[in-house]
């Protein structure tokens, strides 16, 4: 049987190939999910270098446990869970991470271009990270995952091992807490304060 290699193998195919000890399949998975895992970790941690390490660590964990991955149940959700849990473990261990602006990241072409806007955006990021740092980790985690990273409540529920209802309730509380802290920080920063 002369199967031509599939140019875009599915995640399920790649997982099965990894389970059959195919290093090339693992390399493709890494390339496919590199930016996603880095982004998820960055949005949770706010530090590029730490996020990069965490995302690489996630691939190592995945490789170790690839035999337990059911290819039909979605590699992405499983992988997200690994990245999220590693990031939360890091936050638990280190309290918070020193926020680093996204200087090294090239903004998409459609985003703001002027240096002033760029600086303002970085300042906002730093302020948001500082306010987030005041919140309890369980609030921070859902805000980061839902409002910064854009994950769905159901995905967050899977990643954190909670029900979607619990995640929504926590999100509701977290948004109210963030809003209060954000407004307080804005008042303190304003010249009239």
């Amino acid at each position: 049987m002369a199967d031509s290699p599939n140019p875009m193998p599915s995640d399920a195919d790649l997982v099965v190939r990894c389970q059959r000890h195919d290093p090339e399949a693992f390399r493709i998975l890494v390339e496919r999910y590199r930016r996603r895992s880095w982004k998820v970790a960055y949005n949770l941690l706010g530090n590029m270098e730490v996020a990069r390490d965490i995302s690489q660590e996630a691939f190592i964990r995945v490789l170790r446990a690839i035999a337990t991955c059911d290819p039909n149940r979605g590699f992405r959700q499983w992988f997200d869970k690994v990245v999220v849990n590693l990031s939360i473990d890091y936050l638990r261990k280190h309290g918070s991470v020193q926020a680093v602006p996204l200087e090294l990241i090239s903004e998409p072409a459609t985003s703001v271009d002027s240096p002033e806007d760029r600086t303002l955006q970085d300042e906002t990021r730093m302020k948001v990270r500082a306010v987030l740092g005041e919140l309890p980790l369980k609030h921070r985690a859902v805000l980061m995952m839902r409002d910064i990273d854009g994950m769905e409540c159901e995905e967050i529920a899977v990643a954190l091992g909670k029900t979607p209802g619990t995640i929504r309730w926590r999100l509701n509380q977290a948004r109210q807490a963030f809003r209060r802290a954000w407004e307080r920080s804005q008042r303190e920063m304003s010249p009239d304060a």
Binding site: R35, E107, P164, G165, Q173, R175, R179
Partner: protein, 219 residues
């Protein structure tokens, strides 16, 4: 115990009465982010907002803070499209941990690790057994038939020194008396301390003249 808003999020209760302003505020943060999963509820909030200025201000403030949150995030597109160093680093980390996708037995991790654990256990048991055997085979218990100290000197006088036929690497080490208390004579050198029972046997040998020319002649 489940809190009211959590219960609200978990169960979709059938309500006949419209929500109060307070009930609306309880779910306004979810509404502001588009996370009310009940369309009827979302419509009810919208209807309420149309007539309640205070709740409108509240939802505006929530949306402003959510906007700041969203601006703090990175997108996949904002990360480098190519990054050759990334894979190199992953490979390097795998090597550091002696892992490689081609080296793993991936089908059954439990059974994969079991033989290694058994081999380790067998190695430990073998090492322990060998140590015990070595110690047992090189230890000669002191007894009358196997004197550990013999005299070298005159049988009638006090020994000036003894040669210890010790069952160790200090065999035949020359020792000197460190005490001349006749009831409890100790001899020692830097390598070997002659025990009292060794000395008693030594004394018996001397008293009974049981030492031989060979012994007297020394080792």
């Amino acid at each position: 115990m489940m809190r009211p808003i959590e219960k609200h999020c978990e169960e979709k209760e059938e309500r006949t009465e419209p929500m109060t302003c307070s009930q609306i505020r309880n779910i306004l943060a979810l509404y502001a982010g588009g996370d009310l999963d009940n369309a009827a509820e979302a419509r009810e909030v919208e209807a309420h907002l149309a007539s309640c200025e205070a709740c409108r201000a509240e939802v505006d403030a929530l949306r402003a803070s959510l906007g700041a949150l969203k601006a703090a995030g990175a997108t996949e597109e904002s990360l480098p499209e190519t990054d050759p160093g990334y894979w190199v680093e992953v490979e390097s980390k795998l090597r550091e941990r002696a892992l490689g996708v081609d080296q793993l037995r991936l089908d059954r991790p439990t059974w994969r690790t079991l033989p290694a654990l058994l081999a380790q256990a067998a190695l430990v048991l073998f090492a322990a057994g060998a140590t015990i055997w070595f110690m047992a085979s090189h230890h000669q218990p002191a007894g009358p038939s196997a004197p550990t100290a013999v005299a070298k000197g005159t049988p009638n006088g006090s020994p000036l020194y003894v040669l210890v036929n010790a069952p160790d690497r200090y065999a035949n080490a020359e020792v000197a008396p460190v005490s001349d208390d006749s009831s409890n004579i100790y001899y020692s050198d830097v390598n070997h301390v002659v025990r009292p029972d060794e000395v008693k046997r030594f004394q018996r040998q001397v008293t009974n003249a049981s030492y031989t020319e060979d012994a007297r002649g020394g080792f």
